[in-house]
């Protein structure tokens, strides 16, 4: 079995997506709270609190600088945690995947459905956050509306990253390693709360090569500030290409783990 064999899929993947959506909607009140509250907390603490000591950063006010980063971080977190801890619980504790593959669905379709759901969660969260942040007048419209479709693509990237870790983790607590060694550094060093240009040049290159959030932040920030550049296309191509690669890899890794 190859690690990069393209999975055979049918429209049945949406049945898995639908299952997760139904569960999500059962507790929608608590699910809609974080994307609503999170930007408020960060904006007050960092944007309007700490930000008082910062006049301008890269030509904009500090709240306007971090607003897009908050959206990008939420896109990352919602998909990543859905497809690590969420998927692991469904796979290992609830045996949901086992139950589904006893039906005409294949394991490839189950995993793809999970990833599409992870991406959808990013889209839902990004949309809610966008609304809250727009209410503060921190983003440019209508450019910022492009963030909504983009959050699905970026969400799919983080969902695939998460699923790769889920496929290889020996147990649920080991999922804390990628969380602390990969997600938390990305949260801080991807041009989120301070410009990437402050970091030494090799680290900047590293960030663009290996930290997906860097590209996502840079795209989202260009859209909220309406400052489009050619580099945007490079970042977008990077996100699409890596998403695709990790999508195929994660499905194959999962297949290896579950089909013996």
């Amino acid at each position: 079995m190859s690690y990069f064999a393209f999975p055979r899929l049918s429209n049945q993947v949406w049945k898995v997506w639908l299952r997760n959506k139904d569960v999500f909607m059962k507790t929608y009140k608590v699910n809609f709270l974080p994307p609503f509250l999170e930007p408020l907390l960060y904006l007050f603490a960092l944007g309007f609190g700490l930000g008082r000591y910062i006049d301008v950063i890269e030509g904009v006010s500090y709240p306007r600088f971090i607003a897009p980063a908050l959206i990008a971080i939420s896109v990352m977190n919602s998909a990543f945690f859905e497809c690590t801890f969420g998927s692991y619980v469904r796979m290992y504790y609830q045996k949901t995947f086992d139950a589904i593959i006893a039906t005409p669905l294949s394991i490839e379709e189950v995993i793809t459905g999970e990833l599409l759901w992870g991406a959808t969660r990013s889209l839902i969260y990004a949309t809610i956050m966008l609304t809250v942040i727009a209410a503060f007048g921190l983003i440019e419209l209508p450019y910022s509306l492009l963030i909504i479709p983009f959050s699905f693509i970026a969400g799919f990237l983080f969902a695939s990253i998460g699923m790769c870790f889920t496929a290889i983790t020996p147990n649920i607590s080991s999922l804390n390693y990628p969380t602390f060694l990969f997600i938390t550094p990305m949260f801080l060093f991807s041009g989120t709360f301070f410009p990437l240009s402050l970091l030494p040049e090799p680290i900047q290159y590293f960030a663009f090569a290996a930290l997906p959030l860097t590209h996502v932040v840079s795209i989202v920030r260009s859209l909220t500030l309406a400052t489009l550049s050619g580099f945007l296309l490079v970042s977008f191509a990077w996100v699409v290409f890596v998403s695709f690669l990790l999508f195929v890899l994660s499905v194959n890794l999962m297949k290896k783990r579950l089909i013996a």
């Binding site: 049945q12 049945k15 639908l18 569960v23 045996k95 139950a99 593959i101 006893a102 039906t103």
Partner: protein
Amino acid sequence: MVVTSKFKAGYFILFHISIQWWFVIVSVIMAEDLEKQFGEFVAVDSVSFTVEEGEVFGFLGPNGAGKTTTMKMIQCVSPKTGGKLEVFGMDVSTHQREIKKRLGVVPQENNLDPDFTVYENLMVYSRYFDIPRAKAEPIIDELLNFVQLREKKDTVIEQLSGGMKRRLILARALINTPRLLILDEPTIGLDPQARHLIWDKLKSLQSQGITIVLTTHYLEEAARLCDRLVIMDYGKILVEGKPDALVEEYVGTDIVEAENNPKVIACLEKSAASYDVVGNTIQVYTTNPQELTYALLQECELGHITARSATLEDVFLKLTGKKLRE
């Protein structure tokens, strides 16, 4: 007039034969030298068997005998590593989706969806089989009646008893009106009441013509339910047959149990009787318990002696040994 009726009769016979032919030729499951290896370990070692339409077929064997692995290959979730395996005449390696569409599965472990209620579990499952909602609703109502869970419709899974969970899993396995039902230890961990209820349900399914394949550790269950069964050990099929016939062939109709001491053994050795030593007792296999009891009491100095009917459990232990399997 005469010509047409003759033609009709001929056509009818031809039609009838073709149906019979189909029943005879296409077994529901056909395995030939089926093999499953996990690395070096051979879990299923070149087994051959067939399961015919409408029968209840059992797989017995100690832990690690290869029963569940065989079930998983039939369900198309674990690929075979050798031999041939066809379900409904289709190859399991190439027709997974078509086979799984016609299959109902009760797994060993409860894997109901804890995020949903009883009713939602069945509804969500019906979607995986592409059953439209309007069609699924009456089916679900009927199934909830069948497994006697109508009142629990809106209960979350967590609050169901073990027996209820098993019954719900059975209902879930029937959502696509399968022609073949696979049950991996359907009554594991259930109390006698719950177990009898499941047995009743399985009997009624059998009378509807559904083919049933099951594995079990409860030999009484196998003897009651199975038309035919195999006993597996170390990945191989040791014997195959009807439960009664197997008992008669391998242990006789009855068993006389006597206290284990060297004198009795010496005495039995002389009489050329077939016996086994089980801990503190000696089991003598026989078809004539009265005569044997009499003879043993006369010739050998026996203390305590009991005669009882032989069961499938005796066959099982005789063939697979008494050593504990972990």
